[in-house]
Each structure stands twice: as C-alpha cells, then as structure tokens.
Amino acid sequence: MEDQPVMDLAAAMERFDGDQDLFLTLAEMFLERSPETLAVIQTALADKNLPVLAKEAHKLKGSAMEFCARPAVAAAAQLEESARQSAVSEMAAIGEQVHAEVQRLTAALRMIVEKGFPA
C-alpha cells in the first residue's frame, strides 16, 4: 500500500471544482484533528472498545475520502470493518497501518498548506 500515491490531488481538486481555498480549509481541519483522532483510536485499540473504534474509523474514512487519499481510506475502512466484525486478532496490525497512512497524509497535506500547491 505504501507504493500507492498518498492521495490523488488532481481528483480531489476536481471534486472541489478547483476551489483551492476550500481544499486548504479542509486540509487545515484535518491536520488539526488527526492527532486527537489517532490518540482516540489508540486508546480504543488498547481497551478493545469496538464501538468507538468503528465510529472513529468511519469518520476518518470519510475525511480521508475528501482528499482522495485512497490508502488512508482503505486502511480506515479495514479497521472499521474489523471492529464491526469483532476481528480482534487483526486489529493491532490494521491499527498500525491506519496510523502510518494518516501520518503520510498529514505530511502531504502540511506540505501543501505550507508550501502551496505543486505546479
């Protein structure tokens, strides 16, 4: 999954009809919120709190979708699904995957917020 591009910026910009301000607004919100989201997921994993895990993974999936960040969406979807199906054995690994993909996505988004859109 690491081989996949972290997000499809062109597709995302197409969704927003080229509205860069809207993209930046959402990116800033994601950057602001993702550390807390990851912390909540971490705690829920440790506590085996499946309802919270499913809910947080679902929200994360929706947010990542806005940026057409397919690897993060896929990882979050997998976590949501395994939480719903109580597939506890795979959960730790998937949790790590989610963590990694969210880090990749936030790095990419931070780059755009700070340095502007790639030419």
Partner: protein
C-alpha cells in the same frame, strides 16, 4: 485562514455559478439544500461543493438539529449523512415520513459506501435517493438536479391540491347558498298554496303536492270570489325549476281576485282564460302554461269552467258517472286571438271535484307504462267512502306504488273539494 462555518448556520449563495443547474428563468428562486452531517470535514466539503454549484446551503450538525431545520426552513432538498450520533440518517427519514407536514420532503441519504443491503434499508426507511461521499462533481450535480426536479414536481402537485381544496370549499359554500335560496323560493311557493280546510262555507278542501325538484311549476288555488262563489284553478308552467316557478307565480298574480276584477272585469272562467291567453304568450324558449279555471256558484252548486290545454279536472259524482271536465283546447299563448268558452256542470251534495296535474296520471311504472287517467279515476272512486283527506293521501300512495319510488318525474298536484250535504249548508255553518 478561512472562516469555518458552524452547525446549523445559513450560508449565503455562492457568488459564482460555474455550472448550469440554475440557468433558465431569471426569476426562479435559488433552491435551498439542507445538509445534515455530524462530521465537519465532510459537511464543509459537501457544503462548499454545493455552493459552488450555485445552491443555497443550510447546515445542521446532527439529526435532531436537521429535523428542526427541515421543519423551520422547508428546504427544497435534504441531504442526510447516514451515520450520526443520536438520530441517524434513516431515523430522520422515518421521522420526516411520519410527519403529515413534512412527509413530501425530498431526502437523499449520504453514505461512504454503496452496499446494496444498505441502499435497500435506506429506501425502506424513507430515503428518496443516495449520494456517495466519494461522488464526483458531475454525479453530485446530476443527483441533486434530479432530486430538485422531483421536489419541484411534488411542490407543484401540493400547490395544485391546495388550490383544488380551496376551490372545492368555495364551490361547496356557493352551492349551500344556492340551495338555501332555492329552499326559500320553494317555501315561498308553498306559502302561495291554499290552506286545507273550508275555503267557503259548505265546502271542504284537501290537497297533496309534490314537486319533482325543490321548485315546481304547478300551482293551484281555491278561494272565495265574492260571497256566493268559489274560484278555483290549477296551472302548470312548462319546464321545471326556478324559471318555471317564477312564471307560475306571475300567472298566479294575474289570477288573484282583485286583479281579475281589474284586468278581466269578469269572473267568468272563459273570459279569464281568454285574457290570460292574450297576456301570457309563448316565451322565446317555447315555454307556456296550461290552465284550468272553475267558478262554483255555491247556492246552486253550478260549476262553470274553462281550460287551456289542461286536462286536469274530474267530477266524481255520487249519483251518476264520473266526468272529466276538460275540452280539447290549446295551451295559453299559442294563438292570442282565440276565445275560450265556459262550460258548466251541476254538482250534487257530497260530490267531489278533483283538480290534478298530469304528473300524477303520467307516472310511469318501472317498465315504463303510464298509470293513466282510468286507473287514477278508479282509485279515486274506490275511496268514495273515505274522507277526502284519506282519499287523496291513499291515491298518492297508490301512484307511488305504481311508480315504484317516491320521486315523480314531473310535478304532482292533486286537489279535491267536496260540496257538503245541504244540512251543512252555508247559512247554518256561518
């Protein structure tokens, strides 16, 4: 850097319209879309995208706030996230469908993945359509436009229905008013008819009257003309309803005793009918009257009478044979130059004289056979030993039995007078 709108605020329409969902009539108002999603990122994203498409967007941060906004703002379209804390999307759908006022709202459920079983559940719980969170700009536009078209149609239907309801209420009120006026007119007509009883000393009188509509074109009267004579007539205005009734009242006014003295200068039935014939020509619509006028000299019990096309008088004699008092003649108004002559008949004590409209003997049986004058006469004669009131009541009952119903196709009038025995004659009674 960008202000982030909070839940349930009202966003301004986008200043720029990039696609053409709203082109067309310039006066058309901007459609209002309510977006309900607890996740800020998704909500702001979708709101931004919808605004760029030219729609006005209202936002709500959960199901309860969403339901309140639907009620308060009546948006043209509601886009609902499926998963929300508290009231989730399908539950909001159900609440909308259960509410009489909101029932017809257009609701689209937003999901992260379109699984068939989820779609089936959403539809069964009241969603009109689905929108994927991953949808492209083109798909969002297409779905929103389709939903707004449905919404506009539903609202059009509701407006039409409301207009129809209003028209129906107005018509009902108007109809009630007309019916009440008709009833007043019918009451007035009925008030013109004589009171049953003793119109003159030594004469008793009864009648039955059943107009085919609320208003009839038949009228009859029995009243004293001077101290020794009794005037009586029955008239039938052709047609039915208000027009016939008005014309009947006009002829009735002509036949009032004081008017006859002035207009005819005589109480001779032939002279009266001749003058009426002159004064009441055929109408432009071809309507006319038939009329029978009689004058009974009480001391001698001599009846003189004249008829214009009216065949409705039967003398039921206790001694001899019954006799129809009519002559072959035109109705009023067909030829203003003709003269009508009086004929006479001699009544004996306890003889009965009936005036009647053709509606009674022309009553059809269910197979279409008319009752006929012979059956009417036989029925009246059978009741010889009963009182006059009974005789008339029972004859009406027999006619209804022949008809097989209560509503005669024509106005029905049956009036009877009986000349009392000499022992109960004028001087002793008064």
């Amino acid at each position: 850097m960008n202000p982030v709108s909070g839940a349930a605020d009202v966003s301004e329409p986008a200043p720029r319209i990039v696609d053409k969902p709203l082109t067309g009539k310039a006066a058309e108002p901007v459609p209002v879309i309510l977006l309900v999603d607890d996740d800020e990122i998704t909500r702001i994203s979708m709101a931004g995208r919808l605004k760029r498409l030219g729609y006005r967007v209202i936002e709500a941060g959960d199901g309860v706030a969403g339901l309140a906004a639907i009620r308060a703002q009546r948006p043209d379209l509601v886009i609902l996230d499926w998963m929300m804390p508290g009231l989730d999307g399908p539950s909001v759908c159900e609440a909308v469908r259960a509410d009489r006022e909101l029932r017809s709202s257009q609701v689209v459920l937003m999901t992260a993945h379109d699984q068939p079983e989820q779609i089936a559940e959403g539809l069964s719980r009241g969603a009109d359509d689905f929108l994927s969170k991953a949808a492209s700009k083109q798909e969002v536009l297409a779905r929103v436009q389709a939903s707004l078209r449905s919404s506009a149609l539903v609202r059009e239907i509701e407006r039409t229905r409301d207009d129809l309801d209003r028209s129906h209420r107005l018509l009902s009120a108007k109809q009630a008013e007309l019916e009440s006026e008709l009833q007043s007119a019918a009451d007035f007509m009925r008030a013109q008819l004589p009171l049953p009883g003793m119109p003159a000393p030594g004469v008793s009188m009864q009648w039955a009257y059943q107009p085919s509509l609320a208003l009839g074109g038949d009228l009859f009267q029995v009243s004293a003309w001077g101290s020794e004579t009794l005037g009586l007539y029955i008239l039938d205005a052709s047609g039915h309803g208000v027009a016939a009734a008005l014309r009947a009242v006009a002829l009735m006014s002509f036949l009032r005793e004081d008017n006859l003295a002035k207009a005819v200068g005589s109480f001779d039935p032939g002279a009266i009918v001749t003058e009426a014939n002159r004064r009441f020509p055929l109408t432009q619509d071809g309507e006319y009257f038939t009329l029978w006028v009689g004058r009974l000299h009480l001391p001698s019990r001599t009846l003189s009478y004249a008829a214009a096309g009216h065949s409705g008088a039967l003398l039921h004699s206790l001694q001899g044979a019954s006799q129809w008092l009519s002559s072959a003649s035109l109705p009023l108004g067909f030829d203003p130059t003709i003269a009508f002559d009086s004929a006479t008949a001699q009544l004996q004590p306890r003889d009965r004289l009936y005036l009647l409209s053709d509606g009674i003997y022309e009553a059809p049986s269910p197979t279409g056979e008319l009752w006929g004058r012979d059956r009417l006469q036989a029925t009246l004669e059978r009741h010889r030993t009963h009182t006059l009131a009974h005789s008339i009541g029972d004859t009406m009952t027999t006619a209804r039995q022949w008809l097989g119903g209560d509503i005669f196709p024509d106005d029905v009038a049956l009036l009877g007078i009986e000349v009392l025995d000499s022992s109960g004659s004028a001087k002793e009674k008064s």
